[in-house]
């Protein structure tokens, strides 16, 4: 019985064992074809891609990759080569294919390789033979890195950009964390000391100039590694501060404007609450004011005392009549033109007509319509007030006869006044425009 039990237990464990192997095998079964992975990628996803292809744990591949860095940097060169040649999971072509099919990219790679090779030859002539293999591999790495940088897809680029904010990197560049500071200081000192030691060999050996060069670069690099984070964070703080200052400035401008205009008007309206006419007038002024400000905040506050176009002159009339007579003026301008003597005359006559309407018609709003056509300028001033009898206006009242009719005639135009008690008054001003303005 005991044996039986034991047998059963054995069977169970055996069973469990086999399922475990099954899952393990399913997990690590070699996968074809070789693809760079997207999910558990640290850099290009080459290691985990390789691991899947070969059916070995990802970590093993990664450790091998890191170790090979120390064999004349052959590891990184192979890594980058795989990065370029292997298609990323979910994409249709590799970085190498992409680069090859783009003329501009090919040119860039070509130019950079020429430059790097030229540099290498220059270093060799300076007498630097020690770094032979290492340097060639490094060159390869640089070119491959360049291809990755230029040719990676948008998706991959996002992934790489994400790396710069990963905990590992931020802890390195963070000015506060002790670990980052320690790592950085260590690296900085090692590189810097190496540079100094190279520099100190000057004069003792052949190829001294090359050591000076590399030593100086190394020293510089060391200093950079040591101080870069502080510099970066200072720049970042400065930008943030500037941005905040601009925001504050905007707010202040806005607040100042709202206070100067809207708040003042509201308090005036409260004081004039029992005078509907005054309230309407204030509200209208404020509305126009805000409209102009919204449309063009820059020019706001600079009164157009010298309007240079028809539209500006028309809005000037609107402003003047609304402010002085408390009657709304609604301006519509079609086409626009620079003001000259003749059109100024039309505007002046129109202004007179508008003021007349504001004073006498009893209408609450006046429509002003100006249209500039190539061959004529027309202006209509219309109110829906009480109308008046043109003939009944005494001759000595100069408004209509002299300011409107005669002025238009002097400039070669016409003025027609239509008025009736039912439909109000419309003053029509027309001025032919010479087709060749001198």
């Amino acid at each position: 019985m005991g044996a039986l039990q034991g047998c059963q237990t054995l069977a169970i464990t055996k069973n469990m064992n086999s399922t475990a192997t099954a899952t393990r095998r399913a997990y690590s079964r070699p996968e074809r074809p070789l693809r760079r992975s997207t999910g558990d990628a640290i850099l290009g996803g080459v290691c985990s891609g390789l691991a899947r292809r070969l059916g070995v744990p990802t970590r093993t591949v990664r450790i091998i990759a890191v170790v090979t860095i120390f064999f004349a940097a052959v590891g990184p060169a192979i890594y980058l080569a795989l990065w370029i040649m292997t298609i990323r999971r979910g994409e249709s072509e590799s970085i190498f294919d992409r680069t090859r099919s783009d003329k501009r990219e090919k040119e860039i790679i070509f130019v950079v390789s020429i430059a790097v090779i030229a540099l290498l030859i220059a270093l060799r002539t300076l007498g630097l033979h020690v770094l032979g293999l290492f340097f060639w591999v490094l060159t390869l790495c640089v070119l491959e890195g360049l291809m990755v940088w230029r040719g990676s897809s948008g998706d991959e680029r996002d992934h790489l950009r994400g790396l710069t904010t990963s905990p590992l990197v931020t802890s390195m560049t963070d000015t506060k964390g002790w670990r980052g500071v320690a790592i950085r200081t260590g690296v900085g000192i090692v590189v810097g000391v190496w540079g100094i030691s190279l520099l100190s060999r000057v004069g003792n050996e052949q190829g001294a100039a090359a050591y000076v060069l590399i030593g100086a670069v190394a020293l510089l690099l060391g200093v950079l590694v040591l101080f870069a984070p502080w510099w970066v964070s200072t720049v970042r703080d400065l930008t943030q501060e500037r941005r905040a200052r601009i925001r504050a400035q905007d707010r202040a401008d806005m607040a100042a404007h709202v206070h100067d205009s809207v708040m003042q008007t509201l308090s005036l309206i409260q004081r004039a609450a029992n005078d509907p006419g005054e309230v309407t007038r204030l509200a209208r002024i404020q509305e126009r004011d805000l409209r102009i400000w919204l449309a063009n905040p820059e020019s706001f506050g600079r009164p157009t005392t010298n309007p240079s176009t028809l539209a500006q002159a028309a809005f000037e009339i609107e402003r003047e009549v609304e402010d002085n007579y408390g009657v709304g003026v609604d301006v519509v301008v079609v086409g626009d033109a620079q003001l000259d003597d003749n059109s100024s005359a039309v505007l002046a006559a129109g202004r007179e007509a508008t003021i007349n309407a504001a004073k006498w018609s009893g209408a609450t709003s006046i429509s002003l319509y100006i249209e500039a056509e190539p061959d004529q300028l027309s202006m209509y001033v219309r109110d829906q007030g009480t109308g008046f009898n043109v003939d009944a206006v005494p001759r000595d009242r100069q408004g209509i006869s002299r300011s409107i009719v005669e002025r238009m005639e002097r400039h070669g135009g016409t003025a027609v006044i239509r008025t009736s008690p039912e439909s109000g008054t419309e003053v029509e001003l027309r001025l032919p425009v010479s087709s060749n303005p001198s």
Partner: protein, 220 residues
């Protein structure tokens, strides 16, 4: 116009404005609902299918334009009358081209607004003075201002007939449809059909630069 009152839905994010308009139109139209935000407005308009939607142009989350686009893509038969404090050219052009049947400013008088709502409900177009001015400016002032070569323009859609120009000019001068009919010795129905034709041209015209034009001339 029609014996039944128009069923109106109002979209405006200011409760005060909604209350004011309702008070002014009370008895003349039938309010079947109101909304103060874009998403809710779209749902309720689709659900209740009003005759006319009174639409505020400036609201958070995309404004009247978002409501208009959201509703039109699901039910193109809803008629919109835009009602706004702003009559900046680019707002007007954008909202009309998106499918609104008319555009009036909030300073409009009660009776005129009622007339505009009835006209919209009947499927006609409602042009404010300023909108008429914009259209005249955009359609008659030559292609050079629009950076469009004349050959790109479709004469059917991109040009106004002399009669349409005449009608628009009278609207811009401040005439009501009735006054225009008297002035031109035609019926009000004819005036309405001219204005509807202009609206159609404004919406279908391939003057892609209409909005650019509007932005350039925003002060007018």
């Amino acid at each position: 116009m029609s014996p039944e009152k128009a069923r109106v839905f109002m979209v405006d994010d200011h409760a005060l404005i909604r209350a004011g308009i309702k008070a002014e139109l009370a008895g003349s139209v039938e309010f079947i609902g109101e909304a103060d935000e874009v998403a809710a407005a779209i749902e309720m308009i689709i659900e209740r299918s009003p005759d006319v939607v009174l639409l505020d142009v400036h609201m958070p989350d995309g404004g009247g334009l978002a409501v208009l686009e959201g509703v039109v893509e699901r039910d193109a038969s809803v008629k919109f009358l835009a009602l706004s404090v702003s009559d900046a050219a680019e707002d007007v052009i954008a909202i009309i081209r998106a499918g609104a049947r008319g555009y009036v400013t909030k300073s409009i008088e009660g009776p005129e607004l009622i007339e505009a709502i009835e006209r919209t409900a009947a499927g006609d177009a409602v042009f404010s003075r300023r909108l008429a001015g914009f259209v005249l400016d955009a359609f008659t002032k030559g292609a050079d201002q629009l950076h469009t070569t004349p050959s790109m323009l479709d004469p059917e859609l991109d040009q106004l007939t002399p009669r349409e120009i005449e009608v628009l000019r009278l609207i811009a001068r401040g005439y009501s449809y009735r006054e225009i009919a008297t002035q031109l010795d035609i019926s009000i129905k004819t005036v309405e059909s001219h204005v509807s034709a202009v609206l159609r041209k404004l919406q279908l015209s391939n003057r892609h630069q209409l909005t650019n034009w509007a932005t350039e001339r925003r002060l007018l």
